[in-house]
Symmetry: D2
Subunit: 365 residues, 4 copies
């Protein structure tokens, strides 16, 4: 089951060392402008950069082979292909790398899985998720909905939070979306990069927390129980490899706050209703209240480290030690930020389509 969504359905396909990875989107509105530069920009933000990332540099030259006509969506299924280039299969043999899906994939697929480079579990597949999500994000933007993600915490090094004020927050989102390394403070950025380089030097890796914000969503979107905004977003966010926690509003930090301080008071503001604080992250009872959606994701350190690790041999079942070769990231959190934006966009697109119908995102001009 690699298909997400009810009214917009997305299926990811491909393996790290196959000819292509890609995504099929079923349920896009007709007439959506496809801005290839926009998709390219999102893909470039996911791509590894410099010393803090893997040596495998993929150009991600995607092509859209269906569902598009004269630069706009037709409304019928759209398939994006991204060729896998620069593949070095010789680097891989079947081993069970700790923290990876090699062993669980083996248990599930009985050894028929393409294990090379993580196969279908590879972070590489997130390029397809980004390409698919970029189309959704672009459509959301046409409706005045903006989404952005920054590194709030990298191994203890902390950036400031998103601004609370919705208007300022939209500026924050715009600012962060222009950054290759998504933090607000340049000092924090230097410190984080230094920390990643240090991990790289030690053959180690680091993780952190990504903080995300969405502005411009109308009130009344989402469903009361299993398709709550939190349910839908978390379903797709936990699909991102390395995400091990998702929280909304105060989340786990709200544990010590009492109800009096937690509740977001309602107030009249410019003809609409706002909340004076946003501890609930813009969601009450699973449904948007018109305030910004605020959420954050815990990203575990990349499991690909270069030190010797204990494992079990896939063929003999005996204890062994392994040492991973090849190209790997000492951190992926700075790349994951764009995957979060794109994944979240797919979930929001789906909820909005369910609510307002297939033509909601159609651009008539």
């Amino acid at each position: 089951m690699d298909t997400f969504g009810t009214n917009l359905r997305v299926t990811l396909f491909g393996e790290s060392h196959g000819p292509y990875i890609g995504a099929t989107l079923d349920g896009l509105a007709p007439g959506l402008h496809i801005d290839e530069d926009y998709i390219r920009r999102k893909l470039s933000l996911r791509r590894p950069v410099g010393k803090i990332s893997t040596g495998r540099v993929e150009e991600d030259r995607f092509s859209i082979i269906s569902g598009i006509y004269q630069g706009k969506t037709t409304g019928t299924p759209l398939t994006i292909l991204i060729p896998n280039e620069n593949v070095k299969s010789a680097d891989y043999e079947r081993i069970f790398r700790p923290g990876h899906a090699d062993y669980t994939g083996y248990c599930k697929y009985h050894g028929f899985e393409d294990y090379r480079g993580g196969g279908h579990f590879s972070g590489r597949i997130t390029a397809a998720l980004v390409a698919a999500g970029a189309i959704a994000e672009f459509a959301l933007e046409q409706k005045g909905i903006r989404i952005g993600t920054h590194i709030l915490d990298l191994c203890g090094i902390k950036d400031r939070h998103f601004t609370e004020d919705p208007a300022e927050l939209t500026k924050d989102i715009q600012y962060i979306n222009e950054q290759e390394f998504a933090v607000f403070s340049p000092d924090v950025q230097n410190e984080m990069i230094a920390r990643i380089e240090e991990a790289a030097k030690e053959g180690d890796s680091v993780g952190g927390i990504l903080e995300s914000a969405v502005t411009g969503l109308p009130a009344g979107v989402g469903e009361p129980w299993f398709d709550s905004v939190e349910s839908k977003l978390s379903q797709i966010l936990f699909a991102i490899p390395a995400v091990k926690g998702v929280q909304f509003g105060l989340g786990f930090d709200g544990v010590n706050v009492s109800g009096k301080d937690y509740n977001d008071a309602f107030a009249k503001h410019d003809g609409t209703v706002i909340t004076k604080t946003n501890h609930n992250g813009g969601i009450n009872g699973g449904i948007t209240n018109g305030m910004p959606i605020l959420f954050s994701c815990a990203v575990k350190p990349t499991p690909s480290i270069f030190t010797e690790q204990e494992s079990v041999d896939p063929f003999t079942g005996e204890n062994t030690t392994i040492r991973i070769k090849g190209r790997h990231d000492p951190a992926i959190i700075h790349r994951a930020r764009i995957v979060v934006d794109c994944a979240a966009s797919l979930a929001l697109y789906d909820l909005l389509s369910y609510r307002f119908g297939t033509d909601y995102f159609m651009n008539e001009s």
Copy 2:
């Protein structure tokens, strides 16, 4: 969209002040023993108790009106009804209570929603979720799968973690499932109850963190992307009112841990493969690795507090202040623990049915 699941589908229905709440389960195996005492026990653990809970005591006298024959499931849809008794509608008028879904429900349903007592958004509906989930949990138990949840942290007061060792962990689960107030330490329990009573006295409320564990799941269950074990569990856990965060394994606490320390080394053990630590919470690449599933949920303080709160008038749109009347909980975390178990059981049942077919849970004798 109030329906969860692919191979086991659950729909919750009902409103706080309607005649019944209930659930329809479509996709249960035939031949499942229905232990009504087991369901009753789970429902009783969800029910409010003593001074630390609402005055509305419901007996939750459920009845199963379809899909059952001679005490076993038939394999066709099973509907459970729970009558709403002890309803005092006079206590309610339409107001927008901060932290509740009154306003968002109004935006979504345009005023047609049954707002009385929170209507379909009421925590009351979790009784139906518990009844449905109890059937799934009982079926999981027949397969040797055990699930348990305790209060790890209530407003800063902390219980010990679940034991790491899987065998001991199963004992922990058994112990905790016998407790009405789910904590390991009696001292911690007293402290937590005192804290809730204090909140009650002040018209305030408190939240906390629930920690859950699942033992006995085979390796190889779950799907690589959007139906990962994390995705499925989080989708249903975030359906529980007041849950604002979900994390697996180290979750947000893993932020400061480097890859070397985070990775769970594999080792041979009794003819199978285990991991020496369980920082990933039993899940790699979205798929079970045979180790216990570990997750925790952030539960916000109950939004129903008795102090004056700022809000907006539904009829005039003007700022106003409200004071909630009626019966309410100063905390729901001690009741939510059983909702977490039952919700998680539904997600796991669905994944196992998808993997192994409709007859997997059939009890042949």
Copy 3:
């Protein structure tokens, strides 16, 4: 899997001899007026009448226990219950009745099924389908969409076809919906009833063809491949027990017609586009063209006949002969017509909701 639909989901539950049958509808618009008399009228048309039907007369006193507030839908799941009254369980023992689902149910559910009176396979369950569909049909009517079904052919006795002209057709639909025994010609009606009574006398049964028409659907509804209007309608129509064939427009009768005569020419008419003939039954490429939807269903003779039949003993596996006791219909086609209308309404409601969003059917006044 007893759940139909994507944006409106319907689950049927219950068994012939259980306490209740019913349906849960998830995805109804908020604010739909629930006209209980309308539902009652539809249920009464499904009920057996006089000598030509089973002796089991059920009053079908339904109650709507959720998703309704002040006579209108809330937008949250609506559950309808219909109590089973007048149940004579003593009439039933486990046998494999030819033409019934006793044997296939046994193969599927391993003997755990409630076999009494056909259990969950009983035609009785269509009362729940009618009640659910009546809500959808009423909503369609508010949008100017009308649906009607008559007996075109009963065991060779033929009624006239629906009128081709759309305006006249709507009158036809209105006329037929007022008839208890749905045929246009009173003479044909007498002949058909006589034929059913004859079958009854002989312990035999008869089938026929139901012809249906839908007017008022906008052009552009339906999906190109698997959720074509034909696909969705046929999926739900084949759910009706005894339906063994479904055709649209000329259907099987179009076999001898060449393309020149089959193609429906387009023409301008009153500012819109019509087709001069309607051989395609209002659907091109799976999508409505604005002309009436025309379809017909083959209904097999009721399998419950009173003559001795050959079968296999469920307990010994040996050949045996059986003779069915109890109350049964010599024909169900005159009752099935209303099931067809209601089932089709659910499919159309689902497609329209997908296309136009959850609020499409909301009645604002």
Copy 4:
């Protein structure tokens, strides 16, 4: 909504004049042998041949770009691409061809659809459906399930029915699957081909009836209501362009048969249960009874005819006459037979996976 299935999900994508058409399959078992020759053979049977088909000959050189490793499925999504070659776009301008989806597509997609050559509605897309279905059909064959389709009736010229006896029927299926033009009688074949050539000469087209049979399905597959075998098969069969009727067993021909003659008596046979006749087409109550599945499809004459036709101008809205240019089939029924087999295979694969789990079709060697 171009996605079919619950446990095996298939999405078709592509347009007649785009670079590729294809299909994404999500939910295939791991370890399925992919026999490319088998797929190629099925595709070749769908391809136009000689004077009785369109001049556009496509080689259908498919490639499987994901979900395959060392010649077997991995269990993760499999995407098949078929390049569109030999495309002459100059032949097409936007017109509303009677009987085609040009007008309805325009209504649904507001003019954003790729209308060239029918775009996503083109019969061309069935090549992707065949490639996808061939994988499912091959998997079914490994389980001893055989499916075959022949032309029972072409514009009044009739072939004999499939043999009733299950063993002989399997030979019939084998025979028919070896024929390029699927009829049993060589004389009938000549007559049919002559009739098609005649239609071609007149710029006209013809339709007919396809009869299909499936042997080897175990009893107990299918669901009681909305996912009955009839419901699932008809949903996917009506997705095939030009199919306007689907019937099971006696279908519409059973109208004149009374219950006594219609009912299929059960009998013990070789340790299992059979029915002495098969008027129900192997399905009771929506569930297989172990007898062959028998169904037939009404295929309308190809709407592409070369005589002048009346239509409406897409740009002015005025009445006009059109004359179709380009390459077209005077009949597609002889090509559709393989589309029916492949589509039906997908539905049966889905039902079997739901019933028996994801590994049911895994070939362990």
